[in-house]
């Protein structure tokens, strides 16, 4: 068994036992990167030298008996998390040379826990996309089938974990950007409650929706990373100051008596029949393990997408006003005067999807349209949240498919923005309501593509999601199934 294929908890055991060093682990991961990265293209920037120094420091710490939660574990960071001294591009030409003067809080926390950073992972430009095809730095390919997309926007992070080019990764989720690529790449991805993880140093897309979260190979690793990144940050005024539980303590609680809500609006026509069958089978496994299924309704589900594509672009149009070619990033040399310099820099620096959303956002906030679009959407958003409040009176968690289809082909949806937006129909509602969600693998299509199962919970109920996800993973024997599939199907050809 190669070291790169192991999980955080497996590697930590080996480090503690003195069987391997952090340098061995990093060598193994970089060997893997050398083997497959030119095919997958999961990274925008590799940080090999700095990683070697971090691994050496980890080995010194271990010799001194100082092992922390992530000591010596190679982790990839979505290129939206600021890293002091290392380019943070956000997948955009406009930030191609931006070197942040500080670390994001999550990066600080990972550093303090002994993590080793492999590099900065590819992503849709400014996290706007569901396929990682809008990146200014080339597409990332799905390790399960190189002709297909890995999902997005955190497609580089998900592909890096699935292809063993890192042990775990961080991503960000504004409308499904962690859960959808996790589903399409056959790994675990969690979007925490809004306010659970600090957004300080996360390049802003839609500030009332963005949240950072982990990509891991199994649920235990998800709990380990959540223990490190969750918590209040005085520098981030929307982070919430409530106690962080030990998420690992939820891993072996089982699901006897847990009430699982099955929302009828998420099991509809238009979903790939293979996905539907797989998710229904997963629910049957949960019932067999002692969970109680409850039929529920989330009546405003069909409006989520419309609300999202008003609220998110509105916030984005405001957040992205800062890219003007003055303080950092790309400046066009074409500008005749100041105004023209702004226009030329932004028009050459941003890609089409970002421009489309800036225009939508500016339009829905503009005088005469604000009430019809932005205000209306914010009201319907309140109703979407109310749906969840009502539902969680009847159940502890909600189970749904993560994505209506498995990974689609590169180029299949790039010409039709509405089709691309529909990839997120099952994930957007959690961002609207601010609740946590997790996607875990629950099977494979006939073509060998991974399928994801999503659990949603009430605010700050990440522990319950981890509890249910761990129970499912164990009962269904998911880790062994994925290992077998990987052996048989993941050939990078």
């Amino acid at each position: 068994m190669e070291l790169y294929s192991l999980t955080i908890h497996e590697l930590q055991e080996k480090l503690r036992a003195g069987e391997v060093t952090a340098a061995d682990i990093l060598d193994s991961v970089y060997q893997r990167i050398d083997q497959v990265e030119d095919k997958v293209h999961a990274y925008i920037t590799l940080m090999k030298e700095a990683a070697q120094a971090q691994a050496a420091a980890a080995d010194t710490a271990i010799r001194n008996g100082d092992i922390k939660a992530l000591t010596g574990i190679p982790i990839a960071l979505k290129d939206i998390c600021c890293t002091q001294g290392f380019t943070t591009t956000c997948g955009s030409r406009i930030l191609h040379n931006f070197v942040p003067p500080y670390d994001a809080t999550v990066v600080e926390k990972l550093r303090a826990s002994g993590a080793v950073f492999t590099g900065k992972a590819n992503m849709d430009e400014f996290a706007m996309g569901s396929s990682t095809e809008t990146s200014s730095f080339g597409v990332t390919r799905n390790p399960w089938d190189l002709t297909r997309i890995p999902g997005g926007s955190s497609g580089g992070s998900a592909a890096a974990v699935a292809a063993d080019e890192c042990i775990a990764a961080l991503g960000s989720d504004t409308g499904g950007s962690i859960r959808q690529p996790a589903a399409l790449c056959g790994i675990v991805g969690m979007k925490p409650t809004y306010g659970r993880v600090s957004r300080f140093g996360l390049v802003a897309f839609a500030s009332s929706l963005d949240q950072i979260g982990p990509f891991t190979k199994d649920v235990e690793d998800c709990a380990i990373l959540m223990n490190v990144i969750a918590g209040y940050d005085p520098r981030e005024s929307t982070s919430v100051n409530i106690e962080v539980p030990d998420y690992r303590s939820f891993l072996s609680r089982g699901i006897e008596g847990l009430r699982i809500g099955i929302p009828r609006e998420y099991f509809i026509e238009g979903i790939d029949p293979e996905i539907l069958a797989s998710v229904r089978q997963a629910i049957a496994v949960l019932e067999k393990a002692g969970a109680k299924c409850v039929d529920i309704s989330l009546p405003h589900t069909e409006y989520c997408l419309a609300v999202y594509y008003i609220v998110a672009p509105a916030e984005a149009s405001s957040n992205l006003a800062r890219y003007d070619g003055v303080k950092y990033g790309f400046r066009s040399q074409e500008g005749r005067d100041l105004l023209d310099m702004y226009k030329q820099s932004r028009s050459a620096g941003f890609g089409d999807e970002v421009k489309r959303r800036i225009i939508i956002g500016t339009y829905v906030l503009s005088s005469g349209y604000y009430d019809a679009y932005y205000k209306k959407a914010s009201q319907v958003r309140a109703l979407i949240r109310r749906d969840f409040d009502e539902a969680f009176k009847k159940c502890d968690i909600i189970a749904t498919p993560t994505s209506p289809t498995a990974a689609f082909r590169i180029g299949e949806k790039t010409d039709d923005p509405m089709q691309m937006y529909l990839s997120d129909i099952f994930t957007i509602s959690a961002n609207m309501a601010g609740i946590p969600g997790i996607s875990i693998p629950c099977g494979f299509t006939g073509d060998g593509l991974p399928i994801g199962l999503q659990f949603l919970g009430g605010h700050f109920q990440e522990g319950t999601l981890i509890q249910a996800a761990a129970a499912y993973e164990k009962t269904a024997g998911m880790s062994a199934l994925i290992a077998r599939q990987k052996q048989a199907k993941m050939n990078f050809a």
Binding site: V99, Y102, L338, M341, F350, K355, K376, A377, Q379, V380
Partner: protein, 95 residues
Amino acid sequence: MKITRTEVAHVAHLARLTFREEEMEKFTSQLNDILLYMDKLNSVDTTGVEPMTHATVLYNAFREDVVKPSLANEQSLANAPDPRGEFFRVPKVIE
């Protein structure tokens, strides 16, 4: 038509973006599709519903007004495309 070329051009100016002719054509048509889809919100009765603009926080986050260390000038200017001394230089604003 939900949005005309003239309106797209106006909004583009507000957003400090410019488009070539053929881009304009494509964008206007795509924006029309997207805005038409938004129409479905009109069928929701939102009478008396308070708009929701924040995900969880229902109170303000106050802090003491104390001076804390901030970035040094050279750090703040390190990423600037055209720094001059202690300043960000931009093209001429007035003739």
